[in-house]
Symmetry: C2
Subunit: 360 residues, 2 copies
């Protein structure tokens, strides 16, 4: 087991990474406020892992309430969130009860937002079961639900007390979801870690083949990158925005097609290619680097072109982005592999041209 710390003063917390961690309740027990837990999962992950986690806790004398949500990004909405509140209130969960998210990014985002707002805040822990959530969404305290007009539009910054990433859960992850997670792994290399990007070029096939050691290394390096960024800028006033490379384009794809059509990681891959192409058009990113990143996404089986929504529709959807300031779109752009910045330098026509060039 490897342990990383996210350094956020009194809100600091550890991330444990390793095989078989779901079976060991000890780290959870050490951080419970009271012996009372609500386990939030979905109807795909629940049947695989809920009983194991729940029994481990119950054997240690912890009273558990399980909440099983419908699976999928299409359910990351208020009515589904309200199922959590109904269950918490129905089971008389208190504000000292700990809420544990067991599942992927959608479960984590929703459960985290429920924990942030139930009785104005209850303790929260994460047990991510997808590559995407292990390397990204379960670290850093961003929680949210979607609104029909925009992804993650309603949410809170709310830090977990503990993250347990059991890499054995990836054994059952569908290929498509594994690849979607790889998109966020590649992102860390692109925005700030050129050596990691080169390592990924050398090891991509082993990741896709689920080599446990290589996967664990990729997860740890990704989490380390994310933890450093989050520790420096918890609420995204500066550097943290770099983590959104490809996300403004990607969210437009997700919202434009309807939540759940494309996986988040797939949309981020295509969105990153758009951002990279725009960076190239601005003269910031070299042709060779653009080719390298497109090639790596392609080897990972990820889309490098977006759906044909029309550039105008993309721009309209992107105008709702949280990084818009004074009406100007602020995008994460690349200066090279491992070098990125937030900029509002690109004019709408330039952005539109990059989008058009990257749609099929």
């Amino acid at each position: 087991m490897h342990t990383l710390d996210v350094a956020l003063g009194e809100r600091s917390y550890p991330i444990h990474i390793g095989r078989g961690l779901l079976d060991d309740p000890a780290p959870i027990l050490a951080r419970l406020k009271t012996p009372r837990v609500a386990l939030v999962t979905n109807d795909r992950v629940g049947p695989l892992y809920l009983e194991r986690v729940q029994h481990g806790l119950e054997r240690a004398g912890v009273r558990c309430t399980a909440v099983v949500l419908p699976d999928g990004e299409a359910h990351k909405d208020w009515p589904t969130l309200n199922l959590v509140f109904d269950a918490l209130l129905g089971a008389r969960c208190e504000r000292s009860t700990t809420l544990i998210a067991l599942g992927g990014g959608v479960v984590g985002d929703m459960a985290g937002f429920a924990a942030a707002t139930y009785q104005r805040g209850m303790p929260f822990m994460q047990m991510p079961t997808t590559l995407l959530s292990q390397v990204d969404s379960s670290v850093g305290g961003k929680t949210a639900i979607n609104h029909p007009l925009g992804k993650n539009m309603i949410g809170a910054f709310y830090q977990p007390r503990l993250v347990i990433a059991d890499t054995a859960t990836l054994d059952t992850l569908p290929d498509r979801e594994l690849k979607a997670g790889v998109a966020e792994v590649i992102k860390y290399g692109l925005i700030r870690d050129a050596a990691f990007f080169a390592w990924l070029e050398d090891n991509l096939e082993r990741i896709l083949a689920r080599d446990p050691d290589v996967l664990a290394q990729a997860i740890e390096r990704s989490c380390r990158n994310k933890a450093e960024v989050v520790a420096a800028d918890e609420t995204e006033r500066g550097e943290r925005a770099l983590l959104n490379l490809g996300h403004t384009f990607g969210h437009a794809i997700e919202t434009g097609l309807g939540y759940g059509e494309w996986l988040h990681g797939e949309a981020v891959a295509a969105g990153t290619v758009m951002a990279a192409r725009l960076s190239r058009d601005l003269g910031w990113l070299g042709e060779g680097d653009l080719d390298r990143l497109v090639a790596l996404f392609e080897r990972a089986g990820l889309p490098v072109q977006g759906p044909k929504l029309g550039a105008e529709r993309y721009l309209e959807l992107m105008a709702h982005d949280k990084k818009v300031e004074d009406g100007r779109l602020r995008l994460v752009l690349l200066d090279g592999i491992g070098a990125s910045r937030v900029s509002d330098a690109a004019a709408p026509e330039r952005i539109a041209a990059a989008i058009e060039a990257c749609c099929a």
Copy 2:
């Protein structure tokens, strides 16, 4: 104009109290992040004051989006909150846009929760227009909506950047609402300020007659008490719970009758008498002090008896309270006028007996 400060480190903010403050946009302008504001009000307060506030800001070059909600505690729910999100997204409000609540406690609680969660948090200001919100809900950062199973069950701690209490708005306040606000004013005397309680005994009729100077004094003293408590305990781990005197009983009344039947302050008055009677039964509060507080509520035209829901139903509703810990109900009880504590010492049968004795 009087100004008080709520001392919360980097989240500190001023409360301005005085007549005619709605017409002066200067304090708002000094604290805006960008010249962009969303004004949230309701269909009762909006027609009275919205135009004045909006015009003042627009004359100073601020772009305003107005959101008018249906009035009343019955609308302090998710569908109404979502009207705010719809409006903010529809008008392309950004996370740097400042949300200003113009109205009473319900508007403030909902607008505050919207500000806390729109794009994970936008700047927030309060312009309370009722006595209750001027002395209580607009100070201290508690935001929430109701759930059918419990009042204020979903919310966040989220501090405003500025509170402007224009006492002239009380001129148009219905008598019943003025009295409901007096219940929270009396509360400050009961929990921690015996001299203020005695002053209220001397000045109650002048408050009810809306003597501007006496009202302003009552508001300022109430806010000062609240600001001190909140500064010492922002997220209610200790002393802040004392502000909930009468509220656990009162919330049961509000939830049990259906939100909006009784005003919050009315429920708090009857609930405080229940808490006081229980304190007397435990031998903590003298008979003379119990008589004094009942007499003051009666002079204020506030209910000193709760509705006959049955003690069992009260206890069931109270079991959802946020102050329940390890299944035990923690109540604010009185040791005297101006002296209170949080205690789980009262057995359910004792609580039931006090409720029964205070219902008509």
